[in-house]
């Protein structure tokens, strides 16, 4: 047998693994997994495009927004909530890694344990940036236009990546609590009410009583409005009632809150094993 004839010796590592090195290795694996799973890439994209087309061309005619084309109102909302749908994928991937023993293997290795989480979040943030870019392109194709400066638009794009990073910790926590892919998928459906009870697709003023109050105060609304205000200039400010700086600062505050709550939860849950 081949197994018994070897004479070569394995050389052990000479120095401990650094957090940076192990984070990169874990992230690289997550990215490879994503890119080599065509159904993730293709289906995710098709689903996104379909939703956008439905809102733009089916519901869009019936939704009136004062002083701004619906497509310009919709696309920022659509792209921002896309961050949440991307997060569902992160949650499921994390649950799968726990379920299939991959996390156990990593936790038994002489490397900084937190790199399982940091690696994941680096990879997911990059995946998020990729799908955001894709949706921006589709957005332009269906008639979305920028009415602010280019600098503001770039800032909006960077904000979206920050939002993705902040929500990542929520989704990692969900994925670990779920423990298996199916449960994670179920829990991730919570994203839907969160997405629709916000300013993402309709002006919050049109929502009834309690829903309006929820929508006005939840993080998605601040994030969507920040992107809207940065890309639509004066018209958006009038519609939304505040200048871009108001929405940007508050959306960033929400990011801090999300990370402050869920990063410790995720790390704690991960440590417990």
């Amino acid at each position: 047998m081949a197994a018994t004839t070897t004479t070569a010796r394995l050389s052990p590592a000479t120095q401990p693994t650094t957090l940076l090195a192990s984070t990169l290795v874990v992230a690289r694996r997550a990215l490879r997994k994503f890119m080599r799973t065509p159904q993730l890439v293709v289906l995710g994209t098709i689903q996104g495009v379909m939703f956008l087309l439905i809102f733009r061309y089916v519901f869009g005619g019936a939704i009136g927004v004062r002083g701004i084309d619906y497509v310009n109102f919709l696309v920022p909302g659509f792209i921002t909530t896309g961050v949440l749908f991307g997060g569902m994928g992160a949650s499921i991937a994390m649950a799968e890694d726990m379920e299939q023993g991959f996390v156990d293997r990593l936790r038994s290795l002489p490397m900084p344990r937190s790199s399982v989480l940091t690696g994941r979040s680096v990879a997911d943030t990059l995946i998020q940036a990729w799908s955001t870019t894709l949706m921006v392109i589709v957005g332009f194709a269906v008639g979305f236009r920028i009415h602010g400066t280019v600098g503001e638009a770039i800032l909006a794009y960077l904000l979206l990546i920050v939002f993705g990073f902040a929500f990542e910790w929520l989704f990692l926590t969900l994925g670990m609590v779920a423990g298996n892919a199916q449960a994670a998928q179920g829990m991730a459906l919570l994203v839907f009410p969160f997405t629709f009870i916000s300013s993402a697709f309709v002006p919050v003023q049109t929502l009834p009583g309690v829903l309006k109050v929820i929508a006005e105060h939840q993080p998605i609304t601040y994030m969507v409005n920040a992107v809207r205000a940065l890309t639509q200039g004066r018209a958006a400010e009038i519609l939304l009632g505040h200048p871009a700086s108001y929405w940007v600062s508050r959306s960033l505050l929400w990011c801090v809150v999300l990370v402050a709550i869920f990063a410790p939860l995720a790390i704690g849950r991960y440590r417990r094993g």
């Binding site: 070897t6 052990p12 080599r36 023993g101 996390v103 156990d104 038994s108």
Partner: protein
Amino acid sequence: MTATIEAEGLTKRYGKTVALDGLDLVAEQGQVLAVLGPNGAGKTTFVRAVATLLRLDGGTLRVAGHDVRSEPAEVRRQIGLAGQFAAVEPTMTGRENLEMVARLFGQDIATARANTSIVLGQMGLEEAADRLVRTYSGGMRRKLDLGASLVGAPRLLLLDEPTTGLDPRSRLDLWDAIRGLVEGGTDVLLTTQYLDEADHLASNIVIVDHGKAIANGTPAELKRRAGRNVIEAHVRTNDDIPVVARALERLSGGEATVDEATRRVSIGVDGEGDHVATWARMLEDLSASIDDIALRPPKLDEVFLALTGQALEEEPANGQRKRGRSKAPAGAPN
């Protein structure tokens, strides 16, 4: 000389379930230790404790002299884990999988590549090395998983039910691979519920039941402790079974065990081989036709029965079993 594993009074509870109930165990250097026991005996919990994957409720556990609680980082430097599920990445090639784990062990790129090539050779996976793992058979995945636990050149390999779910051929193949490692000087701790696996691979066996070690020793010692040798007669027709059973019972004064399916009648006897000729002649004088008769040492399942009063799970005829049906998924009992 520091023992590879020293466990003293380990306890671990998941809610009301007691997984480890004061487990004591020592694995000396240079040993292949098999932890043998039925489902739910605490084998996996023990491996997870050694791999620093869970917090023990009580007891002390040292791996190569390092306490798992106070020096987990040191312990992780000593071990390589292959868990119950082949934790390899299906969307990467075999080589990419091993290089990834080697890098995470802290090896630089050149070392990781070199070690990966060696391990691929050891596992007989050179040809498949650059194919995506999702095209691998179950046996190949297990070998790759074994390779991943090995690529960091650990002192101790932890193999949790390494062949569960494999077909008989892949199983023998994996045994060969494990034996190859042992010859290379790596210590191994493996868990199994298959007696023949423990017998084939291990230099020492600890039998675990309900979270406690109930017996330990070399396979030969354990067989001896269960005591008596066994006379086994293979009868030609079922009709002759009662005659032969009665005759054997007269010989030893015990109760004969009858396996109708294979037409084997067996009974424990005192004394060594010197009487076997006499017994054989006596059986020959019976009217029954006997295909063969043999005196043999007890098998491990007979040992287990003698030590625990409980039969070990028999290995299914086709060597396959649904994996992990009664087990919680990794990490779930928390």
